[in-house]
């Protein structure tokens, strides 16, 4: 009998400390293949830290994190081949054109020349950026930049895609565009997506499953519908979130995070 494929993402008793701050506190979580999972939490809840551990940027203090069965510490290169990543901060290079931004990623993933040209062309068409391909990215709108970043992160056809606050700082129209991109990725059913957000409507709209973090601890997980039902017949995800997380004032490190988020928002204009 064939072994069942390991989950796309598996965290076991994951802990990450920064000095006195415990950013991730014994989190265990499994996310199946093809699922779109939302990691919810206030600023400073530990979302970015989990994403950085899963993308091999940050070693765990203890516990383990696996992507498709590959350990982020022991099999970092395999994990990197499997994943795509759009960081929370703006990660397209403003001094390069959209095309060049795609080209450098295609080359870093060492896509063969023929495939490279074709994938870049497809990506530009898919994201509606053909007309802007040879413009410098600093002339792009916030929504165009996020679209470009998603295109960059999917050129190599990742098995698991990480999107850290994909719509933070975007105007409503640009948010719609990014949602459409994510929905299209989801429809293709070809990759698992872990996205972080603190917008409940975003989670409700995009996610099959959500995991709610509060001060580094996993306080609830499941489908949005199941979580809502567990609270009452007409509960909303907003209410679920408030139920499981504590008051804003008690969250340590929120100031730092808020200023960073605003910074991103400023630059996204």
């Amino acid at each position: 009998m064939p072994m069942p494929a390991p989950p796309a993402i598996a965290l076991e008793q994951l802990v990450r400390r920064f000095g006195p701050v415990t950013a991730v506190d014994h989190v265990s979580l499994a996310i199946g293949r093809g699922v779109v999972c939302g990691l919810l939490g206030r600023n400073g809840a530990g979302k970015t830290t989990i994403v950085k551990i899963l993308t091999t940027l940050l070693p765990p203090t203890s516990g383990s994190a696996r992507v498709c069965g590959c350990d982020v510490l022991r099999s970092a290169t395999e994990v990197r081949r499997l994943i795509g990543y759009v960081p929370q901060a703006l990660s397209a290079d403003a001094e390069l054109t959209g095309y060049e931004n795609l080209l450098v990623m295609a080359k870093l993933y060492d896509l063969p020349r023929g495939v490279r040209a074709q994938r870049i062309e497809e990506a530009l068409a898919l994201m509606g950026l053909e007309h802007a391909a040879h413009r410098l990215v600093h002339t792009y709108s916030g929504g165009m930049i996020r679209s470009l970043e998603i295109a960059q992160s999917t050129l190599h056809r990742p098995t698991v895609l990480f999107l850290d606050e994909p719509t933070v700082g975007l105007d409503p129209l640009a948010r719609q565009t990014v949602w459409q991109h994510i929905a299209r990725l989801k429809e293709s059913q070809s990759c698992t997506i872990l996205l972080t957000t603190h917008y409940m409507d975003e989670a409700e709209h995009l996610c099959d499953e959500v995991a709610i973090l509060d001060q580094g601890r996993l306080v609830a997980s499941g489908s949005p519908q199941a979580l809502e039902r567990s609270l009452g017949p007409s509960a909303t995800l907003d209410e679920v979130f408030t139920h499981f997380t504590q008051g804003e004032a008690e969250v340590a490190g929120a100031y730092d995070e808020t200023s960073r988020t605003r910074h991103v928002a400023d630059r996204l204009g």
Binding site: L57, V104, Y109, L111, H156, S190
Partner: protein, 276 residues
């Protein structure tokens, strides 16, 4: 959009290997050069310092005849020194780009890719080398305008190009390591500023090491800049090498190459720090 089944068995990229490593290295360098091409003002402002050193300092010191340069004119002696100095000043601030990329999220994305960290570092160093080459051409043109006679043999020139590249890559990778440790622009600029002048004065750039007090002579022989300049003098000045250089070309290249390998290894170790 893409078939799930093949996604894992045939991941996006080709296998590893030396060719892949080279392609990834050049990818990083290429993007830096594309940026440089768009903003050449940087190159123009960088020509000011060498002009001051050669036209003002060089001419005055040549007149004063204070420094024994073994039969070569002081100005000619100074040209390789100023060349290496301007290369140093470019390379030592090369790391700022990585701090910039950290403040955005660019470097995070690069580090989450399967490209070896060594390729990422070497690519950055190589772009530092290419910038330095452009600067070297500016200094050499300046020397020609000032009537300094240089050796234009293709062999010597390619040797000098290699030395400029090596030296610039040495200080670029050093700079990248510093950037990975200090992480902020302010601290990085501080460290850079503190380091450039000692590196410059504790070298044979503007006086031969034979004039130095013992301790300084020792320090200057621990300074990669000294080897770069020694080699450049041997290659660029149209006089017997032994009259202007005292280390020997083989050692010059050897020391620079070994230092480069060591510093790239260190920078590759430190590189992941930048995203933490």
């Amino acid at each position: 959009m893409w078939p799930t089944a093949s996604a894992e068995s045939a991941p996006g990229g080709r296998g590893g290997g030396a060719a892949a490593f080279a392609r990834q290295t050049f990818a990083v360098a290429e993007m830096e050069l594309r940026k440089l091409r768009r903003d050449p003002t940087e190159l123009a402002t960088r020509a000011v310092q060498p002009i001051l050193w050669l036209v003002v300092f060089g001419e005055v010191m040549a007149r004063a005849r204070l420094i024994d340069t073994g039969g070569t004119s002081y100005l000619a002696f100074l040209v390789p020194g100023v060349l290496a100095q301007s290369v140093l000043f470019i390379a030592i601030f090369n790391g700022i780009s990585v701090i910039w990329e950290r403040d955005l999220g660019i470097i995070h994305k690069f580090l989450a890719s399967p490209a070896p960290r060594t390729a990422l570092v070497l690519g950055k160093a190589l772009s530092g080398g290419a910038r330095a080459l452009v600067q070297a051409i500016v200094v050499l043109l300046l020397a020609v305008l000032l009537g300094v006679r240089l050796s234009w043999s293709p062999l010597h020139l390619s040797g000098a190009v290699a030395l400029v590249l090596l030296g610039a890559m040495v200080f670029s990778s050093f700079s990248l390591s510093v950037a990975c440790i200090v992480k902020t622009r302010e601290r990085f600029m501080g460290v850079g500023q503190v380091l450039t002048m000692p590196l410059f004065f504790a070298s044979n750039a503007i006086y031969p090491t034979s004039l130095m007090p013992g301790w300084l002579k020792v320090v200057s022989h621990l300074n990669p800049l000294t080897y770069q300049i020694d080699g450049l003098r041997a290659l660029l000045l149209p006089v017997p090498a032994a009259t202007v250089a005292h280390i020997g070309l083989a050692s010059d290249y050897g020391v620079l190459a070994v230092t480069l390998l060591a510093l790239v290894a260190v920078a590759a170790q430190l590189y992941p720090n930048i995203a933490r």
